[in-house]
Symmetry: C2
Subunit: 345 residues, 2 copies
Amino acid sequence: MSVTLRDVARLANVSVKTVSRVVNHQGEISAATRQRVQVAIEQLGYHPNILARSLVSRRSNTLAVVAFGLDYYGPSHTITGIEQKAEELGYSLLLSLASRPDDPDVDSLLAPLVARQVDGIIWAIPEIGDNRAWIRCERLEQLPPVVFINMAPRPGLAVVAIDNRLGAALATQHLIDLGRKQIGLITGPLDWWEARERRAGWQETVARAGLPISPALVAEGDWSAASGERGLRALLAGQPDLDAVFVSNDQMALGVLGAAQQLGRRIPQDLAVAGFDNIPESGFMCPPLTTIFQPLVEAGGVAVQELQKIIRAQQDEAGIEFTATWLAPELVVRASSTAARPAPA
Amino acid sequence: MSVTLRDVARLANVSVKTVSRVVNHQGEISAATRQRVQVAIEQLGYHPNILARSLVSRRSNTLAVVAFGLDYYGPSHTITGIEQKAEELGYSLLLSLASRPDDPDVDSLLAPLVARQVDGIIWAIPEIGDNRAWIRCERLEQLPPVVFINMAPRPGLAVVAIDNRLGAALATQHLIDLGRKQIGLITGPLDWWEARERRAGWQETVARAGLPISPALVAEGDWSAASGERGLRALLAGQPDLDAVFVSNDQMALGVLGAAQQLGRRIPQDLAVAGFDNIPESGFMCPPLTTIFQPLVEAGGVAVQELQKIIRAQQDEAGIEFTATWLAPELVVRASSTAARPAPA
DNA sequence: TTGTAGGCGTTATCAA
DNA sequence: TTGATAACGCCTACAA
């Protein structure tokens, strides 16, 4: 069925090893021999069997990514970045999705990856509750190198994270700079690390400006537009003089815009709104949404690069340095915090 | 470093093959022996090396998915469905993303997958222009079984597709049932098969209702919200009495809603709008968008099932039947085609 | 510059 | 019920 090195060798009348050398561009080969071999390869349609190669070389040139919620904006962009960089660096990518993020069955997620001898793993499940409890030294030692995306940095772990706190601070400071005094917050689910970070960025910034902070200024959402709607209603019920709100993602912000319209609050005149994510829809909401751009694709790429570093260091028996890499988000200003709503023509 | 069958065999004082039998639950083994072996496995922390297994068994238990635009709504949902079903059936999933959809370098996309001995491939790159030209019998014979997602069915190919034409017809008929007479269309890029199918569904339905069809009723977009905005402006310029428009995806529909507001057309009173996709945002646009739900996750799952069928048939040397599977989308009615805009409180 | 021998970790064939 | 031995396809010594 499949063509092997041996077949090529036989046809080219050389040894198996010679063909191997030609295929892998290693060692010195006479032009004539190389020519013969290459003709034979062409003729037979030979393709190396990577499985066999991996078995003996003990490297699969394969990375694995373990993620959750590929159907959401963040994960799909991160994984796009991971795939691009992996491909660029010559790795194949094994994709594994957890069915639940809060308490994934870590062992049955990891076992197939380890059994397939992946060279490294990117853990891209959001940090929720204590779903990081499985991370212990003894456990990690039994695994290939792991890089974690979007979790709280820990010594001894390689982490790549968006600076959510900074992003929230940028958005909040922008609202403050507009002269707003009662700055509300709609959070994500607070068992999510990212949601807590965004809250912290809001809180620090509001406090630094000497503006009030009270429970009535905070509502917890679940990332969905519906929860954003509910959140704004709750905030306005408890704090009728609210004049700005930082919403922890764009989907919830969309719900906020809808609720504001239903409640007769003009945006941005009565209420300035800033979101988080910069989803493609955000520029076309009514009004267009001020928000925070996250370099998610870049984060995925950086994670792969870090992973490769560790893999190489391990091969060279060099000392491995586990670092936390922070990536900075950026403010995108649109009409929901600045201009009046465009007048009907 | 790694624990092998041989290590276990030595410790349990049995042969390698016996351990293999225990691991794979095959053959008859005495309870005592099995016990001894299992203890040894536990003790050493043995895990089978799937690469080695695949090498000899000539099956990798791995599927590959080749896709484009994972950062968009459709692909990310389809792949979610593929991954779920693959995991359910015991396959690992290799993810490969094309950097461009129109003229992907098919060979360099496929080569690594074939070299990794994947058992099957799911081709999920949208059909654009003649980017299906590579599909020839001789080519396919050199590949493991392939299932194609969202392309025009062809004899001899396994295809799983959403019935885009039906979806467009559902939306268009809904607009007609509302009594609208001038039904416009904003298409996707017309070198996309899906875009043409949606146009065909609109056209057939409008024609069947005896309503007018003219070039002035059609504008071509590029799936983006910005192009939806431009599209509506163009339509209204050429057809001022337009009273309904079927927009070929929700992002463009979002642009249409914005443009309508700027142009002073009330939705749905002056202009009824229907989209396609049912993205999570669509229920929270102003007004909420009538649209078409596509069973994308299901499509991914069905593709994997079809692939498994073919793989099994091939192993059993049974006759392989290549079929086209159509999945039906559903109409989701919201305020953009029915109710008045909610009045400010 | 080229070839030979051995092994990577597993499964399959046959015989015991 | 169990075990020796030979593949699977490739690569790394070492030798020629």
